[in-house]
C-alpha cells in the first residue's frame, strides 16, 4: 500500500503536470492563432453559441443586480441627505467590479461547462483522435475558434450587462426609492471615468480567455467515459470560477496602479 509521502508526491506531480499541460495548450493557442487554416465560420458559429446564447441570462441577471444595488445603497445615502450618490455608486460598482466578475461567472457556468462537455464527449468517443488521424489540428479547429469567440464576446456581453444593470438601477431608484431618474442617470454617467472603462473592459478580456481555455483544457484532458465527461464539466466550472476571482484581484491592483500612473 502506498504511504502518505508517496500519495502526496503523486498528487503534487499530477497538479504540476496539469499546470504544465494547461500552459502548453494556452501557448499553442496563442502561437497558432494567426496560422492557417483559419476556421472563421466555426469562430462565428461559436460567437453565436456563446454570445447570443448567454445574452438572456446576462440581461436578466444584470437588471436584478442593478436594482438590488440601488435598494442596498440608496437607504444610506438618503440618510445622509445625498440620494443622488446612489447613481455614482451603482455605476462604479457595476462597471469596475460587479459587472465583469458576475457576468464572467455566469458565462463560465454556461460556457466552460458546455465546452468541457462537448470536447470531453469528443475525446472519449475518439473523435479528437479521428480528427488528428484525418490531418486536422484539434487546437486550430476546436480550441482557437472557442477562445477567439469567447474573448470577443465576453467584453460585449459585459457592456450590455452594465447597461442593463444601470437600467435596472434606474427603475428601482425611480419606483422604490423615488430618486429623480434624470439625476440618477446623469450622476451615473458622470461618475464613470476613462480608467473605470479600461478596468471594466480589460477584465472581461482576461476572463474570456480563462473561461474558454479552462473549458478546452478540461474537455481535451477528459478520460474515463461518460463519468469522466461529468467530472471534467464540474472541474471546468469550478476552476474557471476560482481563477476568475483570483485573477480579478491582480487585474484590479494592476489597473489601479496604471490608472494612477497615467492620471486616468
Amino acid at each position: 500500500m502506498a504511504g502518505p509521502v508517496s500519495v502526496l508526491n503523486n498528487l503534487l506531480k499530477e497538479k504540476v503536470l496539469a499546470v504544465q499541460d494547461f500552459t502548453l495548450l494556452a501557448w499553442q493557442s496563442f502561437r497558432k492563432i494567426f496560422a492557417r487554416p483559419r476556421y472563421l465560420a466555426l469562430t462565428f458559429e461559436q460567437m453565436d453559441v456563446i454570445g447570443v446564447g448567454s445574452l438572456p441570462v446576462v440581461v436578466l441577471a444584470s437588471v436584478f443586480i442593478g436594482a438590488v444595488l440601488v435598494l442596498q445603497t440608496a437607504d444610506q445615502f438618503v440618510r445622509f441627505g445625498s440620494p443622488g450618490l446612489t447613481g455614482d455608486v451603482v455605476a462604479l460598482a457595476l462597471v469596475r467590479e460587479i459587472g465583469p466578475v458576475i457576468f464572467a461567472l455566469l458565462v463560465a457556468g454556461r460556457v466552460s461547462s458546455g465546452i468541457a462537455s462537448e470536447l470531453g464527449s469528443m475525446q472519449v468517443t475518439e473523435q479528437v483522435d479521428a480528427m488528428r488521424a484525418l490531418g486536422t489540428d484539434p487546437v486550430k479547429r476546436l480550441v482557437i475558434p472557442r477562445v477567439v469567440a469567447t474573448v470577443v464576446v465576453v467584453p460585449l456581453l459585459t457592456i450590455v450587462g452594465d447597461l442593463c444593470g444601470l437600467l435596472g438601477g434606474l427603475l428601482a431608484s425611480t419606483a422604490v426609492v423615488r430618486i429623480n431618474p434624470t439625476q440618477f442617470w446623469v450622476r451615473a454617467y458622470n461618475a464613470i471615468e476613462f480608467g473605470d472603462a479600461v478596468q471594466g473592459l480589460v477584465k472581461p478580456v482576461v476572463f474570456g480567455l480563462i473561461i474558454s481555455l479552462v473549458g478546452c483544457y478540461y474537455g481535451l484532458a477528459t478520460r474515463g467515459g461518460t463519468r469522466g465527461v461529468g467530472r471534467a464539466t464540474t472541474q471546468a466550472v469550478v476552476a474557471a470560477s476560482v481563477l476568475i476571482l483570483v485573477t480579478n484581484l491582480f487585474i484590479t491592483k494592476t489597473v489601479l496602479w496604471v490608472n494612477e500612473m497615467m492620471g486616468w
Binding site: R36, Q127, D129, R132, L134, G135
Partner: protein
C-alpha cells in the same frame, strides 16, 4: 533493409510500414516491448491478442498519435518518430483508419464525415476540390460500402454496422496505401460482421492496400486469410479448402502477449504451432 518478421510471403514487395525495436510504457506499465515487424504493400497483417496487449496502441503509434519511448517507426520510407504533430498531418493522408468505436463526428452528416479529409485539404489550401468533385468521390466511397442512400443522414440515424461502413468509407476517400482497422467487427451481429469483412477483403483484393487488422476474434482472422473477393459474383470465394493455399492478398498473423510479439507467421503456421499458449489461444 531486411524484414524483421519471419514467414513473410510478400518479401520483395514495397515496405509501407516498419516498426524497429519500438518500446512504450505508460508509467510503470510496459505496453509494448521492443517490437519489430514490417508491413508490405498488398499484405494484411492480423494483430491478435487478448484485450490489453497493446493492439490499439500499436495502431496509434503507426499514425503518430502516440510517440514511442524508444525505437523507430517508418511510414512509407519516412521516419515519423521524431516528427512534430504538424509535420505528421500530410503523412496521415496516406493512412486510413477505422476506429473501434467508429469515431464519426456526430454533429456532421455522413457526407461531411466521409468528405472530411477532402474538405480539410481544401481548407488547408493544399488542394482545391470543387463541391461537385467532393460529392462524386463521397458517393463513390459510399457506393463501395453500399450506403449511398444514407449520404445526408446523421450518424445517430444509422445502426452500428452502418456507422462502421461509413467509417470504412471515410478511411477510403483518399485511397491510402495503408489501412488500419481497429476491431472493425467488435460488437456487431454475425451478418453485419460478415458484411464488413467482405468489404475489407474486397478492398484488399481490388486496391492492394497494406493493412494492419486488429482483432481478438479468431474467426475474423481466418475469414480474412482464407477468402478472396470474386468481383464477378460480388462475393467471397475460398482460397484452398484447408487454408494452406496462397490467398489473393497475402495474410500473416502476429500474436501479441505481455507487450511482446509471441508468434508471427502464416495462418497455416499458426494452426500447426505446438506452443501451448498458441494452442490455448486457438481453442
Amino acid at each position: 533493409m531486411a524484414d524483421p518478421t519471419p514467414g513473410n510471403p510478400t518479401a520483395g514487395q514495397a515496405e509501407v510500414l516498419r516498426f524497429d525495436d519500438v518500446h512504450l510504457a505508460f508509467g510503470q506499465t510496459v505496453v509494448l516491448r521492443d517490437l519489430s515487424f514490417a508491413l508490405h504493400r498488398g499484405e494484411t497483417l492480423v494483430l491478435l491478442g487478448v484485450t490489453g496487449t497493446g493492439k490499439t496502441t500499436l495502431l496509434k503509434l503507426a499514425l503518430g498519435l502516440l510517440k514511442p519511448d524508444r525505437g523507430r517507426i517508418t511510414v512509407l520510407g519516412t521516419d515519423i518518430t521524431e516528427l512534430e504533430e504538424e509535420e505528421l498531418f500530410p503523412l496521415r493522408a496516406q493512412l486510413g483508419i477505422v476506429f473501434q468505436e467508429m469515431a464519426l463526428f456526430d454533429s456532421l452528416s455522413v457526407h461531411e464525415n466521409v468528405a472530411y479529409r477532402l474538405i480539410e485539404e481544401t481548407v488547408h489550401g493544399g488542394k482545391d476540390y470543387s463541391d461537385e468533385e467532393i460529392e462524386r468521390r463521397v458517393r463513390e466511397c459510399l457506393r463501395f460500402v453500399g450506403l449511398e442512400e444514407a449520404i445526408w443522414k446523421l450518424p445517430a440515424e444509422l445502426s452500428g454496422g452502418m456507422q462502421r461502413r461509413v467509417g470504412l468509407a471515410r478511411a477510403l476517400i483518399t485511397e491510402p496505401p495503408i489501412l488500419l482497422y481497429d476491431s472493425p467487427t467488435a460488437g456487431l451481429d454475425p451478418v453485419t460482421a460478415q458484411t464488413i469483412l467482405t468489404l475489407i477483403i474486397k478492398l484488399r483484393d481490388t486496391r492492394q492496400a497494406g493493412a494492419l487488422y486488429v482483432t481478438h476474434r479468431l474467426q475474423d482472422a481466418f475469414i480474412l486469410a482464407n477468402n478472396c473477393y470474386d468481383s464477378q459474383n460480388e462475393a467471397l470465394k475460398p482460397v484452398g479448402g484447408d487454408g494452406r493455399g496462397q490467398p489473393c492478398g497475402p495474410t500473416r498473423f502476429l500474436l501479441l502477449r505481455d507487450a511482446s510479439i509471441y508468434f508471427v507467421g502464416s495462418p497455416a503456421d499458426l494452426v500447426s504451432a505446438r506452443d501451448p499458449y498458441v494452442q490455448r489461444f486457438l481453442a
